[in-house]
Subunit: 122 residues, 3 copies
């Protein structure tokens, strides 16, 4: 966990995409207290008209996380702060233009490998 969908604008290079992914991952591990080897990310590029964040036209990112229930409000607040700080530092995205939403599920809803319900079947 978590399963992270990252929407960025097209036209950037691979280093930009990797910087976004790294910044998001570091924030998830530190603020949401996930294991250091957690990394389940999909990065998708969009044309400007296909990534509509109200009327904002500057560089922007939209994140959707799926995670197990159990994280506290304080942890989620810390994640929002941390991920926007990280993205401002690298690759340099204005915190105003980062939108995040999360949905939760349960232990049974995860299989990380080998066709097992990882939290229940080890």
């Amino acid at each position: 966990m978590p399963f992270v969908n990252i929407a960025i604008l097209e036209g950037h290079d691979r280093d930009y995409a990797q910087a976004v992914a790294d910044s998001v991952n570091e924030a998830a591990i530190t603020a949401l207290d996930f294991p250091a080897d957690d990394r389940y990310q999909l990065i998708q590029e969009y044309a400007p008209h296909a990534l509509q964040l109200q009327t904002r036209t500057a560089d922007r990112v939209m994140l959707h996380l799926v995670l197990r229930s159990g994280k506290t409000d304080e942890q989620k607040k810390a994640f929002y702060r941390r991920v926007t700080e990280n993205l401002a530092a690298r690759p340099g995205i204005d915190p105003h233009n980062v939108m995040i939403t999360m949905t939760e599920n349960n232990d049974i809803d995860w299989s990380f490998a080998d066709g097992k319900a990882s939290f229940l079947e080890g």
Copy 2:
């Protein structure tokens, strides 16, 4: 809110994509009673074989909305009606070929800007 993922077929022009996005947004604001400046949309194009809506081969759209819990069944029904009416009018998609699903989350699960939990930290 809501966070709207829009899947359309490739091969259309940008006006088509914008018409779909506008039609979906208008329905969300009016039927689900969201603020007029709400607009959080990702539009993704798919090859026909990559957008499988049972066996339907005509022009088609699949929508996935993430929204806070609290909307009534009647509001959601009104949204389904309105969005298919809108899409039939512009860009002209048969209501039979519009598939929609929604998942809900909570106040803490949204950050629209500035690294804050928008519904809890203003």
Copy 3:
């Protein structure tokens, strides 16, 4: 149901994508007990750096299913087993490199066609 998002690596041909889609669909219908004509799938291709499954570099797949609440843990476990067995057989993906997560919603949250809440308005 379910609404299935399938993330695969780019560089494969259409037969590969179709094999993945078929394998996932067969597992959903048999293990999760869905109707034979259920098929609501989006298949998206990603560059290797954009589909990050921990540090795994081999061919890999990430699945996200949205489905109504009500399926049992045993059904979900059976799905995890079945889908990885299917994908190993066709197109030949190591079960270790298949990651799956699910989120649930309710009766009102589905419209399969015609602007109706399909489970409530028939």
